[in-house]
């Protein structure tokens, strides 16, 4: 005797076209729900890291390099940024400032191994630094002039050597993933950067100067009004653009909210369409099998068991479709993660396993809800209609 389980599988295999259509509908709905959810989760995960990762209250960049600095910071677009004069000493003497750390952004030139140049080198002073050291468990205070620290997405391991500006650097440490441009950047000490910028070989770029600066990371005294301090700094120093990290983060959050709301609207449409399409498919299938259901009722099989057979059939198809949808999106989104990251131009970081598991559960939950809504009317009909009406044997 066939169990409801076997009965359900047999129905799936027998009605291949209907099963395939059901599978496709659920698969497409799952792919949309999971794809949109995964993208938004990754954006939130990236933006959530920004404040903690930058670790500074204010960022100062040369005003002519505003866009280049933002692109380097968040999208990882390599660039060379230079202040005409390093304002670090001036800023550190001002009231309300507790820490100032200078960073120098250099775009690499074509190097011998591969002709594609354009990597972001960031020089930092390990003695005054309060940002880069936060991203690693190891101490990088004594970073030697021939050593470098690389971002998580550089693809280099500890001990690897690489040649930049005619000097060989060895990877001393790999930073945690930040979701920002720092993931594609390579960090060297100011001593190493001074050797490059003062070299006559690169005089055309740097004028044989030392202690050049591209960005100043500023921490204020606790309780200081960051906005008013920023205004005072901007008015007292020429050619400088100042950004409060909080306002940068809120700007990013509002952009992420736009993506989230658009995604929710799209999800809403997908759910409504899926419910209508599945309801139509289930109803048509039920009318095709009306006589069979009537016969089963006539031979004494309970209504509950018949509903169970129907439900199991659609449940298996829903689970298979959900798996297929999530699988197909993952096949594209995970290997192409870096391309997506560059395209969105915002902090973007793969969410952790917990977030991913929750998202998969949420998609499964929504699909089950769609299935229940679509099935409910058909099941109510099975539970209410007399066997004679179903078999169309009227006297």
């Amino acid at each position: 005797m066939l169990t409801p389980n076997q009965f359900a599988w047999q129905s799936i295999l027998k009605n291949r076209f209907c099963s395939l259509m059901f599978l496709c509908l659920v698969g497409i709905a799952s792919a949309c729900l999971f794809g949109v959810g995964f993208f938004n989760e990754n954006l939130s995960s990236g933006i959530g890291q920004v404040k903690g990762r930058i670790g500074a209250d204010l960022i100062a960049v040369p005003s002519s390099y505003d866009k280049a600095a933002k692109d380097a910071l968040f999208a990882g677009d390599a660039c060379t940024i230079l202040f005409a004069e390093n304002p670090e000493a001036q800023i550190s003497q001002l009231d309300g400032i507790s820490q100032v750390s200078s960073q120098l952004y250099l775009k690499t030139l074509a190097f011998s191994c591969c002709s594609t140049a354009g990597l972001q080198l960031i020089a930092f002073d390990p003695k005054t630094d309060f940002t880069v050291s936060k991203w690693t468990n190891d101490s990088i205070e004594n970073l030697a002039a021939d050593e470098m620290v690389v971002g998580a997405c550089c693809g280099m391991k500890q001990g690897t050597s690489m040649n930049f500006y005619g000097q060989t650097f060895k990877v001393a440490d790999v930073l945690d993933e930040t979701g920002m441009g720092y993931d594609q950047s390579i960090f060297i000490s100011y001593d190493a950067a001074n050797q490059i910028t003062s070299s006559p070989e690169y005089a055309v770029y740097f004028g044989e100067r030392q202690n050049l600066s591209s960005m100043l990371l500023i921490n204020t005294n606790s309780g200081s009004d960051i906005e008013s301090l920023s205004r005072n700094l901007a008015s007292s120093l020429d050619g400088i653009s100042l950004y409060a990290t909080d306002s940068l983060v809120s700007e990013l959050k509002s952009q992420a909210d736009y993506f989230r709301i658009s995604g929710l609207v799209m999800d809403g449409f997908v759910i409504v369409l899926a419910v209508i399409a599945l309801f139509a498919l289930i109803t048509i299938t039920f009318y095709q099998r009306k006589k069979r259901v009537g016969s089963l009722l006539s031979v004494g099989i309970s209504r509950g068991k018949i509903v169970q057979i129907f439900f199991l059939e659609y449940l298996y198809l829903t689970l298979l479709g959900t798996g297929a949808g999530i699988g197909i999106v993952s096949v594209f989104v995970i290997p192409l993660h870096q391309i997506i990251k560059q395209t969105v131009n915002m902090p973007y970081r793969l969410t952790d396993f917990g977030g991913l598991a929750l998202l998969i559960l949420a998609v499964c939950g929504v699909n089950l809800l769609i299935l229940l809504i679509s099935c409910s009317l058909t099941f109510a009909k099975i539970l209410r209609t007399e066997p004679a009406h179903l078999t169309e044997e009227m006297t």
């Binding site: 295999l13 990882g76 591969c114 550089c154 690489m162 290997p335 870096q338």
Partner: protein, 135 residues
């Protein structure tokens, strides 16, 4: 299913072959680069997949089709492994940013579709046997 699977894998291999020679081509320098060698190998694998798919359309033997499904699964896995033949050191290079992810996606799709076709053949054979036994 098996005929559709051949059509799908043939399409994926053609699109991937075009992509790795146009929009997703590897890095190119003055000297021979390791990623160019890997991409060359991947190109050969994609051409072999396409050829076996065309042959399975022409040769109507069931056994031959099943063998090509098995080889497609293996070639799909080989596409995933192409970076071991050589790749550039830095993750932001064109080969690691575009070429190998494209090959990964096509490898996964080719292996997945071929595996699904094989499973469908096995299930069909199993249900066929059961029906036969009942009869």
């Amino acid at each position: 299913m098996k005929q559709y699977s051949k059509l799908i894998t043939a399409l994926i291999s053609v699109v991937s072959f075009i992509l790795i020679h146009t929009a997703c081509k590897p890095c190119h320098g003055m000297m021979a680069m390791p990623c160019e060698r890997s991409t060359g190998i991947a190109g050969i694998v994609l051409a072999v997949i396409l050829l076996s798919d065309i042959l399975s359309f022409l040769v109507k033997q069931e056994k031959f089709r099943q063998i090509t499904s098995v080889t497609n699964v293996l070639f799909g896995v080989l596409l995933l492994l192409t970076p071991i033949f050589g790749q550039c050191q830095i993750a932001s290079m064109a080969c690691r940013l575009r070429t190998f992810p494209t090959l990964n996606v096509s490898g996964l799709l080719i292996a997945g579709v071929s595996l699904a076709a094989l499973i469908s053949v096995l299930v069909k054979r199993q249900t066929g046997r059961k029906t036969h036994a009942h009869a």
